[in-house]
């Protein structure tokens, strides 16, 4: 588990159709705690997460892990901003990553039941996943991402468009995961959430890392004018 890190990005860049989405990024992340990625829309938060996870092809630069790439890919999960639901029951959705790893159906379903119950979906395991509400869908996605017990979990604005209660419930799930040793890298628009969860903060602007600092330090004494303005709620471009 600890061999996954350090994660090192060297001049990592993604360009699509001539437009630079993110980068070049030079960054090293160690294997502890919760990293929160913030920044205005279009700053490259999603692209950065997808690039680290390896589902967006690098146009330039390099990403290395403490272990080989296949081991690294198998030890991480990704929760998308819009949860992607399989057209199956809640239980089979959560069990799917286990089934992919060849775990027998009954066993996978039993584990899925437990994981689903832990995130508060215990009463809905038999329902088709598309019957779930927005918050429940995101919980399903988190339970599904966590069921392989990943060393690293990416979350792309998991609480966007959720109300306060759903957000709090999801934050509790995430804090439990972090406490049990899962490394979290998560983007958010919610500064309150960033303050509550972050161990360190990555402030992205125009595809670059503008500032990278530990939690209370970043919010109390931002080093750059843009970060200060962003925290103030000013429009930063």
């Amino acid at each position: 588990m600890s061999t996954l890190f350090p994660l090192t990005l060297t001049r990592a860049t993604i360009r699509r159709k001539g437009k630079r989405l993110v980068g070049p990024i030079d960054l090293t992340l160690e294997g502890q705690g919760i990293t929160i990625v913030i920044g205005p829309n279009g700053a490259g938060k999603t692209s950065l997460l997808r690039m680290m996870h390896g589902i967006a092809r690098l146009s330039d630069g390099d990403i290395t892990w403490g272990c080989d790439l296949d081991t690294a890919r198998a030890a991480q999960s990704f929760v998308f901003q819009q949860p992607i639901l399989l057209r199956r029951s809640v239980r089979d959705n959560i069990a799917y990553p286990l089934r992919l790893r060849g775990i027998p159906k009954a066993d996978a379903r039993a584990q899925a039941d437990e994981a689903g119950t832990q995130v508060g979906l215990g009463a809905m395991l038999d329902r088709p996943a598309t019957f779930l509400s927005g918050g429940e869908r995101q919980k399903l996605a988190i339970a599904r991402a966590m069921i392989t017990q990943p060393a690293l979990l990416f979350l792309d604005e998991p609480c966007a468009s959720l109300d306060g209660r759903a957000t709090r419930e999801i934050e509790e799930i995430l804090q439990r995961a972090a406490a049990s040793g899962t490394r979290l890298i998560m983007s958010t628009h919610d500064m309150g959430q960033a303050r509550r969860l972050a161990d360190d903060v990555l402030f992205l602007l125009n595809g670059h890392i503008h500032e990278h600092a530990p939690n209370p330090h970043f919010f109390d004494q931002p080093q750059t004018a843009e970060a200060a303005a962003f925290l103030n709620g000013d429009i930063v471009e």
């Binding site: 996870h53 589902i55 999960s77 399989l86 057209r87 199956r88 799917y96 088709p128």
Partner: protein, 234 residues
């Protein structure tokens, strides 16, 4: 107009009395077409899924080609299968010409492009939904295709029904390769063609109504088995 009424009367009479010839011909129609459908689905559905998940150089050409093959003239297919299977043809030693097997082969060739093309259309949408998740989960090609085929099974039913519809109503190809031999390769469509040729319109119409009824019955049965329109949107 009187031919039409006479046809309906004949059809009812044939049905009510369970005319032995009619039952035999109908069951043969069903057997040939359902066998062809099962074989065609086993070939075409994986092709549809493969085209949905896999990006390769000739993909666009393959899809366009497949769509073009949907309009394959059955008579030409029949002719080619005839040439291949006839005694002097390359596969003549198997003695398949003028057998139900030859008819099944012809129908499979006719409906595989149709089923594959419709399946690809349906699975392409599903793949665009699933893409990021399945990439993120490190799925293999086979696992991706399996996920699409299983979760898209309702949409694939439509593809299969379209294939059934085309195969059951087909006459040109199976007439050539089957020969419309009584008690051997005569099916509903070839019997209709024969009765029409003999001028027995009432009998032909009667058989035609039976054919339509059977097509509706099979569609309904598959819908009920597949439980479409019952639970959820998929």
């Amino acid at each position: 107009m009187s031919d039409l009424w006479e046809g309906i009367r004949q059809a009812l009479w044939l049905l009510v009395t369970l005319d032995a010839d009619l039952v035999e011909i109908t069951l043969r129609s069903l057997r040939v077409t359902l066998t062809a459908l099962v074989i065609a689905c086993a070939i075409a559905l994986p092709i549809g899924a493969y085209l949905a998940v896999r990006r390769f150089r000739a993909r666009r050409f393959t899809i366009a080609f497949l769509n073009a093959l949907m309009g394959l003239p059955p008579v030409v297919v029949g002719l080619i299968v005839y040439v291949l299977l006839s005694r002097s043809g390359p596969f003549g030693v198997f003695g398949l010409i003028f057998t139900p097997t030859a008819m099944i082969i012809a129908q499979v060739i006719i409906i595989v492009p149709l089923i594959a093309s419709i399946a690809h259309q349906a699975l392409r949408e599903l793949w665009s939904d699933y893409h990021d998740l399945l990439i993120s989960l490190n799925t293999t090609q086979r696992q991706r295709m399996a996920a699409l085929l299983w979760d898209g099974r309702r949409a694939l039913l439509t593809a299969a029904l379209a294939g059934f519809g085309r195969a059951i109503g087909e006459v040109g190809a199976i007439m050539i390769v089957g020969g419309n031999i009584d008690h051997h390769t005569r099916v509903l469509t070839t019997a209709i063609a024969l009765e029409t040729g003999k001028g027995d319109f009432a009998m032909a119409l009667g058989l035609g109504f039976v054919l339509i009824l059977m097509a509706i019955a099979v569609n309904l049965a598959i819908h009920i088995i597949g439980r479409t329109e019952q639970e959820g949107r998929w």
